[in-house]
């Protein structure tokens, strides 16, 4: 019962903050509400038993991505974006016309219907109670999966991260003056 209460409150937090991100006119405030959304999602993961994923969510998004966004918004002048256009007609012409919007809505409807079709089979079947495993914790299980079964994906993603690191170093290094 307590877990259900936590799950529902996390879900409400996520939804409310997501709506707030979309509705608020101040870009800085959107970023802060996004923080609430991501914390709420971490709460959902935690109540569903994926504690490692929940903590990683907090670590990566709250400690890294949101601060990065706040920096970016602040350094590019967050104050100037306070009154951004909200309605479709107020948007500049380069954003699209009614044909592109109606195309977008059509694609969106098809996408949602496809997802509903795919998910309906999952909703109908009742999930099995516990997946039999002999690992003491999710951390151990994830570790075994990462370095045994999915070691290739793990290594490829580490190469990707290394590339990002080198790229950042090249961009940030002082240029030679001659």
């Amino acid at each position: 019962m307590f877990l259900q209460f936590l799950f529902i409150s996390s879900a409400i937090l996520t939804l409310a903050c997501t709506v707030a991100v979309l509705v608020t006119k101040n870009l800085m405030h959107s970023c802060v509400f996004l923080l609430g959304t991501l914390v709420g999602m971490a709460g959902l993961y935690a109540t569903l038993g994926a504690d490692f994923v929940a903590v990683t969510q907090i670590m990566v998004y709250m400690g890294g991505v949101v601060i990065l966004m706040l920096f970016a918004v602040m350094l590019t002048g967050g104050k100037d974006f306070v009154s951004r256009a909200q309605n479709l007609l107020g948007l500049p012409a380069s954003m699209g016309n009614k044909w592109t919007y109606s195309m977008g809505i059509f694609v969106g409807v098809v996408f949602i219907l496809t997802n509903v079709k795919l998910l309906s089979s999952i909703i109908k079947t009742t999930p099995t109670k516990t997946i039999g495993n002999d690992f003491p914790s999710t951390v151990t299980q994830l570790g075994h999966l990462l370095v045994k079964d999915h070691v290739l994906a793990f290594e490829i993603s580490s190469v990707l991260l290394l590339g990002a690191l080198v790229g950042a170093a090249i961009i940030a290094r002082p240029r030679k003056q001659n």
Binding site: M1, H29, V32, I58, M62, G64, V66, S137
Partner: protein, 371 residues
Amino acid sequence: MNQTVVSYLAQYEFFDFLVAIFKNNQSLLSFLIYLIFALLIVGMCATIGGLGTYAERKISADIQARIGPNRVGPYGLLQFLADGVKMIIKEDIMPATADKMLFYLAPLLCLTGVFATLAVLPFAGGFIMTDLNVGIFYLVAISSLVGVGVFLGGYASNSKWSMLGGMRGASQIISYEIPVTISILAITLLAGGMGFGTIVSNQGGLPHQWFMFHNPFAFLATFVYFVGALAETNRAPFDLPEAESELVSGYHTEYTGMRFGFFALAEYIEVFVVCGVATALFLGGYNIPGLDIDILPLQAIQFTIFMTKTLLLYYVVIWIRWTFPRLRVDQLMSICWKYLTPIAIFNLVGCAIWMVAFNGKSIAELVFGSH
């Protein structure tokens, strides 16, 4: 399943008695136990944070050959209460051009981030709110909320001093998270788990059983962690975000009354938490020398041992603050990226190689045989 306070108490007979009182409503009972423990721990740590300000002033006075606060209560001990009352009755000023919502939110974010870390701090065997099996990772993650709070506080005040302080604070906290996390990772290798219960129970009460003296790499990692933690809590010599000689008071320049108090309290409690983590990871935690059992009366001793080690580290933190001059911004960044991070990575690799090469044995076990 994670070990928690409730599951610890459930192994004693009086728990059944309590369950009977609550008419078998287990979830209400565990909620109440969590509530009581949360209030206890938060109250205790808030008091420690308050006494931290007193200790800071008294120790700095000792170092500078002054007397320090000595009027309120015996030895001036109640000074922090007087300060707290003063803060509460002060006028709450909101700068006219401030961003109201973020201005109110920032100190609360700081305080939330710090209080949330107390959930996994191991005070004694069983006396830990919840022994998450991702404990230390959770602590590192949730304490990054403090960085967001510092940054937003600086931004929302709409003043140049606050802005500079907030930006310095955020960049400093993010940068120093890296060597700190890598040093912690080296210790999780030695312990074979991220939960505080696992980490502490893999050490012993005597110094040669501590992870600090497990191998040379872990010894180095201790100092990397400590320096990084000083920087993460914005303590001198890394107190650039609130450098009073250049930025008035940094990110909390515009804050008055209890909102400023929240920032100060968060900082002092965070220092306590960081020292507690250092105790648990490197200095043997709450282990009693020669004994490793968690029965109920012995936990008072365990608690005393944990607090003694933590408060000694707290003393060192204050001592460092009043000894070293402040760094420049470029020195701060070069220490983090050019020295601490490479050393931390070297330690991580070294610990991994040590664990494979010597089959997880510590130096003491190799030299003197089995302990």
